[in-house]
């Protein structure tokens, strides 16, 4: 069930109204059933996979609390192996299989592995990471093991963030299921507004930009450098509006019912460096990697070569998390390399780093450079085949400033697209203040937002990009 569908609209209305009408003690059950219904709309049978990991992690949590020392470590390891194992089978098996086959073929070694032609359960990476954060936090003693199986299941299955995050931490979410939520007009309005903004980002901006992006990337060989450059910039904003739009709907839907989910984006294209970009982009994932992988490897409290290695490990894993394909690994690696270059340059030329903090012009230069690097990296994210990526760079090498943009979208709509991008970029500068203004004028803003969605929206029922992960 996608957020930009009528099914979701009706589903959300029913669940929310029933939630407030029901007595507090039955609400978790309603949310759990609703979450199952929501998830089963994709492939019902895959609920079984979620159930399997839920049972494992539920008991692992209790056992972790009851044991100490080596045994505790083993329990955690088993739980992580079970979660990663599910991910490996469903998401990475084919990737591993293809690479082993390719390598064996290259070395002329006969290898036979069973082919597993299965569809990746939607949102499995999100679900698995959220489940792992529970056992790790219980292991670290930051979270008590949840005894109520239903509440634990709800923690990993809560429908607003089930298929594409934000990837929550147990300390933030589980206790909220026990709290008695009341109807609060301001909170409901704020939630609805955020949902509206999310849908606007998705259907008005992302899906409009997708028309150009899909046309250009669908046939790279016949595109001019101008077309490729515009499509690359458009894709940067498409994926941002697509994913942050999803997060907005998720956070807004939860807020309507009184739940506070963590922020996932904070004006990422305002970042003036790659590390800052990652503090603003998909924050629930980047903090996950920081908390559970980077710090576990020693973070920056190690030798410089080891520190650099830690950074690369985190970014390669982050690339792999996004998809079982080499282009995602390269995308992650590129971000890691950008970080390492930045760190090295800052150490060699501290003046440059200081400049960034001083002048407005310097900040803008760094901002543009960061956007440029991120956009180049997105090319690897968007194009799966190396031959096409090669072609992209080849065509770009012949970039001709005089060649006009030649896409089927008419100029008026292109101007509108650019206006929307610039508008979004500008409004995000004072994001929180702007949001406050919008909330104060809810009864004016919300209808206008709905009209904007209806009249300017591109209703192609396009899935959210991050659903594939």
């Amino acid at each position: 069930m996608v957020f930009n569908s009528l099914q979701f609209l009706v589903f959300f209305g029913i669940v929310t109204l029933a939630y407030f009408l029901l007595a507090h003690k039955y609400r978790w059950l309603l949310l759990l059933l609703a979450s199952c219904y929501f998830y089963m709309a994709f492939v019902p049978i895959y609920l079984g996979i979620l159930a399997l990991t839920i049972v494992i992690d539920y008991f692992a949590g209790i056992l972790l609390e009851q044991h100490e020392g080596r045994k505790k470590k083993w329990i955690l390891a088993l739980s992580i192996v079970a979660n990663v194992g599910v991910l490996a089978v469903f998401k990475y098996y084919q990737f591993i299989f293809n690479n082993i086959s390719w390598l064996a073929h290259a070395l002329d070694i006969p290898v036979q592995m069973p082919v597993l032609s299965i569809l990746l359960p939607i949102g499995l990476s999100f679900h698995t990471f959220q489940a792992m954060s529970y056992t790790i936090e219980v292991y670290r003693g930051n979270q008590k093991a949840e005894r109520n199986f239903g509440i634990y299941s709800l923690y990993v299955m809560f429908y607003p963030q089930l298929v594409a995050g934000p990837i929550e931490r147990p300390q933030n979410l589980i206790h909220q299921f026990y709290e008695r939520k009341h109807w609060d007009r301001h909170r409901v309005q704020s939630g609805l507004l955020q949902m509206g903004i999310g849908i606007f980002k998705k259907v008005v901006i992302a899906d409009r930009l997708a028309m150009v992006v899909d046309e250009v990337y669908g046939n790279v060989v016949e595109q001019s450098g101008t077309n490729l450059a515009v499509a690359a910039v458009f894709y940067s904003f498409q994926i941002y509006c697509d994913f942050s739009g999803y997060s907005d709907v998720a956070i807004g839907a939860a807020r309507v019912m009184g739940f506070k989910l963590m922020d996932n984006f904070r004006a990422p294209y305002w970042a003036t460096s790659i590390p800052e970009f990652w503090r603003r982009w998909h924050m629930s994932l980047s903090t996950w990697f920081k908390d559970y992988v980077y710090f576990s490897l020693g973070g920056n409290r190690v030798s410089i070569p080891r520190w650099y290695l830690n950074i690369m490990i985190v970014f390669v894993l982050s690339g792999l998390w996004h998809g079982a394909s080499w282009n995602f690994v390269i995308w992650g690696s590129l971000h890691g390399i950008f970080q390492l270059i930045g760190l090295t340059l800052n150490r060699l030329f501290p003046v440059l780093a200081a400049d960034r903090r001083k002048t407005v012009l310097g900040q803008w230069l760094y901002r543009l450079l960061t956007f440029f690097l991120v956009t180049i990296a997105w090319v690897f994210f968007r194009i799966a085949h190396f031959s096409t990526i090669k072609l992209w760079f080849k065509q770009m090498a012949q970039f001709d400033f005089s060649s006009p943009l030649n896409v089927s979208m008419v100029s008026k709509e292109l101007y509108l697209s650019v206006f929307l991008i610039v508008g979004l970029f500008a409004l995000e500068y004072k994001r929180d203040k702007f949001k406050m203004y919008l909330e104060n004028f809810f009864w004016l803003v919300f209808p206008v937002l709905l009209l904007g969605i209806y009249f300017l929206g591109v209703f192609s029922m396009k899935q959210f990009i991050y659903f594939q992960f």
């Binding site: 009706v10 219904y37 009249f455």
Partner: protein, 354 residues
């Protein structure tokens, strides 16, 4: 008070979801809603099915109230039983009534879109005629032995078909069963019908459409405007790259292959006891209305005139081309009752000669 409002809202949405998930509920509602002429009536297909896809106001045609009185024929001397398989070009009021067909005493009508086969029953006291009708854009895929058998012959039991060698077949069966039970396959469309297919929304839809069409130059992918801006067409009938198009380049070898395809159908059903098999391919509106200033592939007439063709093929193209605009709606993919009457007249002439 707040709880009452919430309860009413919940009931309304539950009602929408339940009706949207029920075939019976949707049938009942759509019949009633399409009969209403006020703002609460359904309007998507009332003013032309292609208008319903685009909502371009200049193409909103008046409600079709034109009724062409078809001649009611004698059934006393009925000597035929008509078995018809056809599409939405055949109006229900005549396609199921033997009085509109020459020398016909009984009619059995099956739509191509039938969800399950309706087996034919040959009459013992009459000659059995199989009429296979289809619009030009679809005939290549549909006028094939297996396609027709799937619709008018008894099908083997479902269990035998579902037997699969896969070890995990039972899982996909469970999956399909759960999905079928919980999520109606056309739920999204049904919800759109229930919530937004209302006359009161039409001005909003027309405004959005106007913005997309006149400002952004965009139209529904399935629809094209004719060169003279007087007609809407289905894209697949005008795009020369689409196989169902009237402009799709078709070689003589391909025409021969289609003739062989139809000959095979005729032979098969004659072997099953039918006395005559009549084919009728209805030309795409664009092939009749001549609005695009370019030659069509003339596929129906080329088939009819092909030396290898020995069967009966009713081709109404030439008759429809006389006062062509009177025979079609400007914003519908179908002909109007006049067009249907012309076709029926031609068919009856054919029946008289048998």
């Amino acid at each position: 008070m707040r709880r009452i409002v919430a309860f009413v809202g919940l009931l309304f949405l539950a009602f929408v979801l339940i009706f949207g998930s029920s075939n019976e509920g949707m049938r009942l509602l759509s019949q009633r809603r399409y009969m209403r002429q006020d703002g609460w009536g359904a309007d998507k297909f009332t003013f032309g099915d292609l208008y319903g896809l685009t909502y371009i106001k200049p193409f909103k045609m008046p409600r079709d109230t034109s009724f062409v009185a078809l001649p009611v024929l004698e059934t006393d001397s009925a000597k035929y039983k008509m078995h018809i398989i056809g599409d939405s070009y055949l109006y229900s009021f005549f396609s199921m009534d033997p009085r509109y067909f020459e020398k016909t005493g009984a009619v059995q009508f099956v739509r191509w879109s039938t969800p399950k086969a309706i087996p034919y029953q040959l009459a013992m006291d009459k000659k059995n005629i199989l009429l296979i009708e289809c619009v030009e854009r679809n005939f290549r895929q549909l006028m094939q032995v297996q396609e027709i058998r799937n619709r008018i012959e008894a099908q083997p039991a479902a269990k035998a078909i579902e037997q699969s060698s896969s070890r995990f077949a039972f899982l996909s069966q469970i999956n399909a069963r759960v999905k079928e039970t919980l999520y109606h396959p056309t739920l999204e469309n049904n919800l759109e019908f229930l919530l937004f297919n209302l006359g009161i929304w039409a001005p909003f839809k027309e405004l959005k459409s106007a913005l997309n069409f006149y400002v952004f130059g965009r139209l529904d992918n399935d629809v094209r405007v004719s060169k003279n801006w007087k007609q809407l067409y289905l894209t697949q009938t005008v795009d020369p790259e689409k196989v169902g198009s009237s402009f799709y380049p078709t070689s003589d070898e391909e025409v021969a292959a289609y003739v062989a395809q139809l000959t095979e159908v005729e032979a098969y059903f004659k072997s099953k006891g039918f006395d005559h098999v009549i084919f009728s391919i209805i030309p795409n509106p664009v092939g009749v209305l001549n609005t695009e200033n370019k030659p069509t592939n003339q596929i129906i007439s080329r088939m009819a005139k092909h030396p290898a063709w020995k069967g009966i093929l009713v081709d109404p193209t030439l008759r429809l081309q006389k006062n062509a605009r009177d025979n079609f709606f400007p914003s519908d993919s179908h002909w109007n009752q006049r067009g249907a009457a012309i076709w029926l007249g031609q068919l009856n002439e054919t029946l008289r000669t048998l």
